[in-house]
Symmetry: C2
């Protein structure tokens, strides 16, 4: 995904604003000031605020895709693959927590279909990836077969999401990778029979 210098600056500005003021602070005025720009200059690079957020999510999607796809294709055990996927996610969000601020603010998406779709794209990709690993794990008799793959995936995603939410609500105080690793240890225990 090619990206101009200005677009990178916009992403950085979003990051700073989301971390310091939350979604409420993500305004065109603040963005422009953060970049060192006029508000109107923003519109030389993006059609609308909506498209800025959509761009942000698309950028996130590309990153997730390029990180997780190789993991899902390697030849390790399903347990290790699932663990690796989440560890990669925890590591990434610990480095770029502002994405979580955006993702966890559901209210942002009611207004815009473009943003809602970008969001769904990410979620669906991750769900499909996990599902395929879980199915493989069940077939290989590594994972329990008494619970449908669909529910195991739901459980993984739900736990992941809640941990991220708690992290955000506690102002990113604890180490997400550490708590995440701990959580995954027990999650794998649940998965394996």
């Amino acid at each position: 995904m090619q990206i101009t210098h200005r677009q990178q600056q916009v992403i950085d500005a979003c990051a700073k604003l989301l971390m310091t003021q939350g979604v409420q602070g993500l305004t065109t005025k603040n963005l422009a000031r953060e970049i060192g720009f006029s508000e109107s200059a923003l519109y030389r690079h993006f059609a609308s605020k909506e498209s800025i957020i959509a761009f942000l999510l698309e950028f996130l999607f590309q990153d997730i895709q390029s990180r997780l796809t190789p993991i899902a294709m390697n030849s390790k055990s399903p347990s290790d693959q699932v663990k690796a996927i989440f560890e990669s996610q925890f590591l990434f969000f610990e480095k770029h927590p502002f994405y979580l601020v955006a993702i966890l603010s559901e209210g942002l998406f009611d207004a815009s279909n473009e943003i809602k779709l970008a969001m769904m794209k990410i979620v669906n990709f991750k769900m499909q990836l996990l599902n395929q690993l879980i199915v493989k794990g069940i077939e290989n008799r590594i994972f329990r077969a008494d619970i449908p793959a669909e529910y195991l995936v739901h459980s993984l995603m739900g736990n992941f999401r809640l941990l991220c939410l708690k992290w955000k609500m506690q102002d990113f105080k604890f180490s997400l990778t550490h708590k995440g690793k701990e959580m995954m240890y027990y999650q794998i225990k649940i998965l394996e029979k």
Copy 2:
């Protein structure tokens, strides 16, 4: 919790607006129009919009508390108690989905401490309630002991929350109680050893 006629009207108006327009539609103007009086009249009954939302959440808390406490205190098995708690929650939210719209739009309210605290009050109450049941279940050797109660609670809450989120994102199309019951069947399977 005593509540005036007007306060009930405000809650009803919030419900209608949250369901038809989401959090974005929850404005003083819309509220006033929905109730059938002026915007300023709103301020005869509430100090601010913030306090309206806080009131809504307090009302929700009272309901949850009075529904769930008896369940946690009866003499059934921990499995049945946990199941009953979530079934009560699913039933309630299926009846009053607008609460979910507010709760799941976390990020939009993080500017207000009053609202944040009201949310935490609800979450903490439910967590503490579940934790005590899980601990009892572990002690009675009904629930697995190889995973700390804290994580089992986290798993329950995470799955619950994600199901509600999916329900909302699909415009409340499927039956929450039905999907919820199905989910709980597998959740209990995970809990029990």
